[in-house]
């Protein structure tokens, strides 16, 4: 079959890239080989547009066992315990088929984690939808939430945290990012680097079907006998099989039968075999006749490019085949030796006693294209908000608008569809600043949270990049955990657009600066470009997933007020920054100006002191101040408890709206017993941490003297009706 220009384009390759392929092969590729190049050289697998920028990120630290470059990052939490985690996007599939797209997104990220020898202990997700009034949003929301729940609930891993946001920038391109966190023994972590020649390459898991053979499938239709239309088929998740695969893999990992293991994710058999062999500087030879197939008459092309789910590739030590086979058969899973490692440094594919493809591995991996794409700096808005020009809004009115908006409404409609308790180690569920998961049978725990701020990143990518890292760090600190490391999912528009590439470069600069300063390294992540349609790119939406450690867990700290007549302090300075604030957006539909600045010195200082206060047992409740500002933070601490606030207006002359709704960074609200006030204030002063004494907690009412008074029950209702009426 002749490789035409049309076929090359259908494979997402440009002519330049095709010429490089010819040069690397010193001949024309055949269709199978072209398909393999297309899979390995696409943006998703090769990181060709992002690689140069990703290099900037800090990835090292005492706590880091494995940084980016493996299936997931690994960090040290003391003793023999390690935490393995990563986040991944499944945006496009979820837009086409929300339930299955989201479900298979969860399945995929779980495999990345248990491939490394970790038992998954928590799932998180960050989901972004278009405007609630967009005709597709409701169906997408329903499908995505039930898909995430459907998979996690069935496999029995708690979904404990996440974020759900609406913004019209996602009308035609939703974001579905899933994060998985696992626990492993430090001494038993498995990697994907192949070692040794003549070792068995084993296929385990589900059978291979024609799922997810994307743009490429058009080309293959031409030489197919049946003229039946070939739409790219959607992958259907099978969480039951994944559960079996998880248990079987962990069982096999108890001894040392495995040399290397890799899940078959994007580009399935292709990327898994290429990655394992190229990391080990080896060759690999596959006998495709042996690949377990779900459909009849599958071609080598289809087998190599299928993205069927719930499959793994393993390289076994000599003589371990029977032992391993027994385990997989016990769990009713396919187990087939489909090839071996070689010293050729080539990927060789045989089918029906014929060599169907032969590609030097370096051509697919290290020689894949890398682009230094043009990018332009963001032109920053100079716009300052003049409140005077706007209609006057009272504190209560402004608060109600925010609390009843889709973005700030209580998320229990979402989170009650996720099993948060299974495994019985969830010490703090969704709804708090960070979820807390105990390490099984130990008294230490980890805290996890995911965060993003698309509006901030759009208007000022560097500040936005810093801010999401800091917000994540604050969330982890608010539950009393020491932040250790992050993973990141970089959702951006078309990288061939200078502005998008600029947003990417500058967001990464911001992330880098904050991570470096806070010693909060990046250990894994994922890049998703081309989010958008018809030249309209989504707002830059990097998502940060952070993990922290609680060395000794008693009852975890959370943001709910605990009693009456306790003192409420605001930690950190308030300037009243309203540009890009939630207050202006929800009350006036104004999204303008630049977001509040990040002061990393204060950020770190304030965070450290909060941790110290929690550790000394001096705090009853802690909440970070983020979107919506101080008043929203206070209301979140009241809603769902029997205690509200009784506070005074600030004594100094300030604009009340700015004071209560401004989104200045690096702030926390804390609740303390009056008897501890002196101790706490002394510590704050010693450490140069600014604080305001706001007032006290009281029973059942939320009150700013002389300004507003509303019952907790009423606040609860306001905060709870949106989802149920949507």
């Amino acid at each position: 079959m002749e490789i035409t220009k049309y076929i090359i384009e259908k494979h997402g390759l440009n002519l330049e890239e095709f010429k490089s392929i010819q040069k690397l092969l010193k001949r024309d590729p055949n269709l199978l080989e072209l398909g393999i190049f297309s899979a390995m050289w696409n943006e998703h697998c090769s990181y060709k547009s992002s690689r140069l920028h990703l290099k900037k990120l800090p990835t090292k630290g005492k706590q880091v066992i494995q940084g980016p470059g493996e299936n997931a990052g690994v960090i040290d939490i003391g003793d023999d315990d390690a935490i393995v985690f990563k986040i991944e996007s499944h945006n496009h599939p979820s837009y086409i088929e929300p339930y299955q797209g989201a479900a298979t997104g969860v399945g995929g990220i779980l495999r990345d984690v248990f491939t490394m020898g970790a038992r998954p202990i928590a799932l998180l997700n960050s989901i972004h939808f278009g405007s609630p009034s967009h005709p597709k949003t409701k169906t997408l929301l329903n499908g995505v939430v039930s898909g995430i729940g459907g998979y996690g609930n069935c496999i029995g891993i708690p979904t404990v945290a996440g974020e759900t946001k609406f913004n019209e920038t996602y009308n035609e391109n939703i974001l579905v990012n899933a994060m998985a966190v696992g626990h492993a023994q430090k001494s038993k972590i498995f990697y994907s680097k192949a070692k040794g020649i003549g070792k068995s390459v084993v296929y385990v898991g589900s059978k291979t079907g024609r799922d997810g053979i994307h743009g490429a499938s058009m080309a293959s239709a031409e030489f197919d006998d049946n003229s039946e239309e070939k739409k790219p088929t959607v992958q259907v998740g099978d969480p039951f099989t994944e559960k079996l695969l998880l248990e079987a893999c962990l069982e096999l990992m108890k001894d040392d039968s495995i040399i290397a293991i890799q899940d078959m994710g994007a580009a399935g058999l292709t990327s898994s075999s290429v990655e394992m062999a190229s990391k080990g500087s080896l060759g690999i030879e596959l006998e495709l006749d042996k690949v377990p197939c779900r459909e009849e008459n599958m071609t080598p092309y289809e087998m190599m490019l299928s993205e069927s789910q719930e499959r793994m590739l393993i390289i076994l030590e000599d003589g371990k085949e029977d032992h391993a086979r027994k385990i997989f058969e016990k769990w009713d899973l396919d187990f087939v030796v489909i090839g071996k490692t070689t010293n050729t440094k080539n990927l060789i594919m045989k089918f029906k006693n014929k060599i169907e493809g032969n590609i030097p591995l370096e051509a697919l991996a290290s020689k894949a294209p890398v682009y230094d794409r043009k990018w332009s700096k963001k032109k920053l808005s100079k716009k300052k908000m003049e409140l005077k020009t706007l209609k006057k809004v009272g504190l209560e009115e402004g608060l109600i608008k925010i609390l009843s908006s889709p973005n700030h409404s209580n998320k229990s409609w979402v989170t009650s569809q996720y099993d948060q308790m299974v495994m019985c180690d969830t010490a703090q569920r969704s709804g708090s600043d960070a979820a807390v998961i105990r390490i099984h049978k130990k008294n230490k725990a980890i805290a996890v949270s995911v965060d993003s701020s698309a509006n901030y990143c759009k208007s000022h990518p560097i500040t936005g990049g810093k801010q999401i890292v800091c917000e994540n760090w604050r969330n982890i600190i608010s539950v009393g955990a020491r932040p250790l490391a992050i993973t990141n999912c970089l959702n951006f528009g078309n990288p061939e657009n200078n502005e998008v590439m600029g947003e990417f470069a500058e967001c990464l600069d911001g992330i880098k600066e904050a991570c470096e300063f806070l010693n909060y390294p990046v250990v894994s992540g994922n890049v998703s470009f081309y989010n958008g349609t018809n030249k309209k790119n989504i707002f830059p939406t990097p998502v940060i997933g952070g993990v922290g450690l609680i060395k000794k867990l008693s009852k975890p700290m959370n943001h709910n007020f605990k009693g009456e007549k306790n003192i409420i302090l605001l930690i950190g300075k308030t300037f009243g920054h309203l540009e890009q604030s939630c207050f202006l957006k929800e009350n006036f539909s104004i999204v303008e100006g630049i977001p509040p600045e990040i002061n990393l010195v204060n950020e770190k200082n304030n965070g450290e002191i909060i941790l110290k206060l929690i550790d000394s047992g001096l705090l009853k409740a802690v909440h970070d101040v983020s979107s919506g500002g101080l008043l929203v933070a206070l209301s979140e601490m009241s809603i769902g408890t029997n205690f509200g606030i009784k506070i005074q207006k600030p004594k100094r002359l300030t604009n009340l709206i700015g004071y209560f709704f401004g989104e200045d960074q690096g702030r926390y609200v804390i609740e303390i017993d009056p008897s501890n006030l002196d101790k706490v204030v002394k510590l704050l002063n010693e450490n140069n941490v600014y604080h305001d004494n706001l007032g006290v907690t009281q029973k059942e009412f939320f009150e700013i003297e002389g300004e507003m008074k509303i019952s907790n029950k009423e606040l609860f209702k306001i905060n709870n009706h949106w989802y149920n009426n949507y």
Binding site: I96, E97, Y99, Q100, S206, G209, R210, D211, T233, V234, Q235, V236, G237, D238, F240, T241, R294, E295, S308, Q309, D332
Partner: protein, 93 residues
């Protein structure tokens, strides 16, 4: 509910069945598990089983063409996930 009880005049009603099945090539995890279980239960000459959905729909409409269009619309709008499923409409009785 919003729906009123209607007089039972047989002439005005038509009944349809809709069967919804997964498209060929789409993974059918349910069918797979059911098939294995039946084989384990000794049903050795079971060659293949696929699972789908079934709806019985009664329409207040005497004209078959109009009624069938309604059912078609229900399938497209709600009952069927057109990305992964096919469907067939049959008139009953």
């Amino acid at each position: 509910m919003g729906k009123q009880f209607q007089l039972n005049s047989k002439k005005n009603k038509l009944r349809f069945s809709v069967t919804v099945t997964l498209k060929k090539d789409v993974l059918d995890p349910q069918g797979k598990v059911v098939q294995n279980t039946l084989l384990n239960l000794g049903m050795s000459n079971l060659k293949n089983i696929r699972q789908g959905k079934f709806f019985e729909i009664e329409i207040d409409e005497a004209d078959q063409i109009i009624a069938e269009k309604k059912v078609e619309e229900m399938c497209q709008k709600l009952l069927v996930n057109l990305i992964i499923e096919d469907y067939k409409i049959n008139i009953l009785k």
